[in-house]
Symmetry: C2
Subunit: 457 residues, 2 copies
Amino acid sequence: MSRRLVVIGGDAAGGSAASQARKRSPDLDVVVFERGRATSYSACGIPYWISGAVESEADLIARTPEQHRAMGIDVRIRTEVVGIDLDRRVVHWRDLAEGGSGVEPFDDLVYATGSVPMRPPVPGIDATGVHGVQTLDDGAALRAALDGDVSRVVVVGGGYIGLEIAEACRIRGLDVTVVDMSATPVGTFDPDVGEFIADAVRKEGIDLVLSDAVAAIETDAAGRVRAVVTASGRELHADLVVLGLGVRPAVRLAEEAGIPLGTSGGVAVDARMRTQAEGVWAAGDCVESVHRLSGQRMVVALGTHANKQGRVAGINIGGGYATFPGVIGTAITRMCDLEAARTGLSTAEAEAAGYEFVTAVVDSTTKAGYFPGAQPIRLKMIAERRSGRLLGAQVVGREAAAKRVDALAICIWNEMGVDEILSLDLSYAPPFAPVWDPVLIAARKAFEAVEADVRLL
Amino acid sequence: MSRRLVVIGGDAAGGSAASQARKRSPDLDVVVFERGRATSYSACGIPYWISGAVESEADLIARTPEQHRAMGIDVRIRTEVVGIDLDRRVVHWRDLAEGGSGVEPFDDLVYATGSVPMRPPVPGIDATGVHGVQTLDDGAALRAALDGDVSRVVVVGGGYIGLEIAEACRIRGLDVTVVDMSATPVGTFDPDVGEFIADAVRKEGIDLVLSDAVAAIETDAAGRVRAVVTASGRELHADLVVLGLGVRPAVRLAEEAGIPLGTSGGVAVDARMRTQAEGVWAAGDCVESVHRLSGQRMVVALGTHANKQGRVAGINIGGGYATFPGVIGTAITRMCDLEAARTGLSTAEAEAAGYEFVTAVVDSTTKAGYFPGAQPIRLKMIAERRSGRLLGAQVVGREAAAKRVDALAICIWNEMGVDEILSLDLSYAPPFAPVWDPVLIAARKAFEAVEADVRLL
């Protein structure tokens, strides 16, 4: 009998693992259990489907169950794995559509359950009109609700997903308020960069309620959302509430089965995406990754990591060799006309990791200043004192600003110092950059700060 | 008596050297001789001034003579240095405006003479109606000529500057033909990328005459340009000819003075921008740089290098310490709606440098494929066989495509292998990239090519 791989979860990580393993090892039986009705879809695209920028659900799906099946992968949608028995080497499943259940044996297992959205434990959280935005089903439900009689939306959480959903609702012509506990939106940015974002969001007509939290959701007699009440006592009228608080790893099944978690709460994996249970692999939003700068283990829910980790697991299962080398916290978003991106450590993260550092902030333009269409860009660098090593960078600006973060991410990845960064041979022509690219200007300024600081040591 | 620095050339390199030296060493007397009437201007911006995208000459000037003077720098415009006497430590100058001449002593000298445009040695090259585009004066003359009775323009040279000028003329509504000796335009790109560029240029209605050279420029009875005749016998009617063949380093003065040149024909400098003559520094288009990958010395005329090299020379002259670490051949351009960029070695350059390599070409999109405004992007990687080290990369595409070259340049700078590149934590969100950024897809494909090749070794 041939070897059997069972994959729990058919989205980015599970789908990649299944297809890589199958590709490398054509004799392998591959069974994928997916609780939802779709596989391999772009959850990150849901806000744009809500806004109407992306027209159809089908656009978000990279690979359908049928496409997986055509590659010889046995995909079972609407089927939930409800238990893992590591001793007997089987998973227990339940058919959510038809109601049946069963047992599937495995030799190798990929745990790719993804994440579950955070729900504040407040009164009214389960009221009609409170929506999540994590799955395609969530997206479809929210779209349908927004097509109804809705005029006021409160978004809980002002991170990436919260602001993207807020913008989508604004594009649909609704009144939108975002509530967030941080003093500036997207708390993973430093406050001086967050201010830039807050201004842009407010200019779009989105209300921001900051340094405040949701205390309760009030409902009408029919159990429908009526208002959101905050910790500070504000009452925000709402026909609809969207939860955009981020996610936590879906680890319940792993815990129950005895697959060890790491200190961060995600499933612990090694560089090859092996868990500490024999023959069990894990990938995607449910695992913890190593931050290459701080050395800390953390859970980063992001489709690009999920794809890479799934690929690594699949190659290894298929008999190859691949490793996932960790993350450095790169993220990017577009809010209204503003682009924002970060990589490495923020000042708060650098402090928490024990670093001392200097910072530099520059305001420049995306193209030569005199060139038509040149847009403002603000770039912040965080450099370790004495060594000058780049620890983190943040970019905000208009069109063509934020993708510069990739250059900065690669500098951090390679542990470059700001003195070397300012000498880099980056591309220059007036339609693309000033003669000193903003990246180089920021490195110059950060280097001057490092030098000034060294004199004090 | 205080120390005196004389700078020959007041553009990017000379201006930067003068201001850095002065800033670090306020007692230094700084005299800058500039043959033209402007200092510190963006020669790269001239095509956009020709096209009308940039409105006025003043927009191109980063720092005027008056601004330099306000910093205590004695700028003498329209004054040409005609000789350097290293024994007597003086330069001989001539006032081009008033006709006088004189001698200026120096302790340190910065040689920043820039470059001279290449002129094919063909009959008629000095005819009325043949224009260069190197200096502001060239730009002003060309603008004035194009405002006259001109309908057909031939651009000699299909490199960056040639195509930029061709586009500028096309925007002005003229018939434009570009003649170039290469089989595809911008010969520093590989042919498969150059084809992409050729298509875009032709779609703009610009005629390309490739694999051909200018043999003669025919004139009418009044000595005005009438046609360009090519080596293959084509006769291209022209009211105006623009020479966009690139430049060579302006080293005549240095040669006459006994300042040694390098093998590439540029002034030889060390990492601190010192020439081999005591107390003489050089920077900008006239010097040779080290290519960090091939180890070869080469002249690269580019404003961003000139600025950096001038800064390095100025810091060192001012008593500080700075080095210029070399170049890796990064370049970018926009032609019509197409963006194109390269870094590292092309296949031809890699061969010439003795490398064996594999290549990978991918066609992807600038944003998630389903996202509105996603544009095609083609990315080519050249990776060393066995090691997988990235040797070169080329990018072409529409809006937001080409600046990705910076990420690739930093990979090359750090001698990264394609296997590590495919794991990089690059930014992802649907408005900015597919979940596998084109850079990562290309690295994956290049890595597969490296692996397949290793099996043959």
